[in-house]
Symmetry: C2
Subunit: 126 residues, 2 copies
DNA sequence: TTGCTGTATCGATGGATGTCGATACAGTCG
DNA sequence: CGACTGTATCGACATCCATCGATACAGCAA
């Protein structure tokens, strides 16, 4: 249950509408729906902190037991948020004995980062 | 009403928790709330397409009249989504005579992109 | 002024979402 | 086996959100 079927594509450079900066060409509806799902997973403060906790944890992965402490919400809520992140294709998970480990899928983050990349030359916020 | 008070900071390299990749260090709660608000603005397919339409429009800005056509939703809904994007600090807007123009604020997109940037060396989604 | 067009706001509504307590499931230890 | 811990699922609930039609506001043209 680690890798969902991500419609990710040309790692080798084949330009797809999903990965080029959105300042270059308008997003298609399909791509927009797919990307919006991933951004929605990032649209909650708890999930954002969970993701950064996992990503910055040593070894690049974290046990759920490391993730429930830093938050004021209940354990089922943490489990729910982890499920959202997993179903969005942002993290993978695996059970090892008693504990369940989560790790970030860098390709997914990179896909979103590439989309947001901009020349930053036009009149920006500052 | 173009520039909201973005707590953006060191463009010159001063490391702030908002801008360093989340794989480096855990996000603080305040930063997470702030960033989640921006990601939430990107979590809707219509808004994502609106943003890319604006960004990829010639001159880097687009009239609302250019934005209502490509969608199946009503004009008030488009107006609502544009407001969400504006209040999230992702776009600026200005009225010029009859028409209202919107443009992307690249610094905001760059801030999010920097956060998502990862070494992309660990076992990724593929 | 009146009329027309472009855009924003209002109020309502159905559906999605975050949260919880209770509980079920998975694995380890006696 | 039973007891215990770690994690996920269930069901409920309050709130938020995308959407709409109706309407108000802003600017231009007669």
């Amino acid at each position: 249950m680690s890798n969902l079927e991500l419609p990710v594509l040309g790692q080798d450079g084949t330009a797809v509408e999903c990965c080029s900066p959105m300042v270059r060409e308008p997003l298609g509806q399909e791509a927009a729906v797919d990307l919006a799902r991933m951004f929605k997973a990032l649209s909650d403060p708890v999930r954002l902190r969970l993701l950064s906790l996992i990503a910055s944890h040593e070894g690049g992965e974290a046990c759920v037991c490391d993730l429930t402490g830093p938050f004021d919400v209940s354990q089922p809520t943490i489990s729910h948020h982890l499920k959202v992140l997993r179903e969005a294709g942002l993290v993978g998970s695996e059970r090892r004995g008693t504990w369940v480990y989560y790790w970030v899928l860098p390709a997914a983050l990179a896909r979103l980062a590439a989309l947001l990349e901009a020349p930053a030359t036009a009149g920006g916020a500052g």
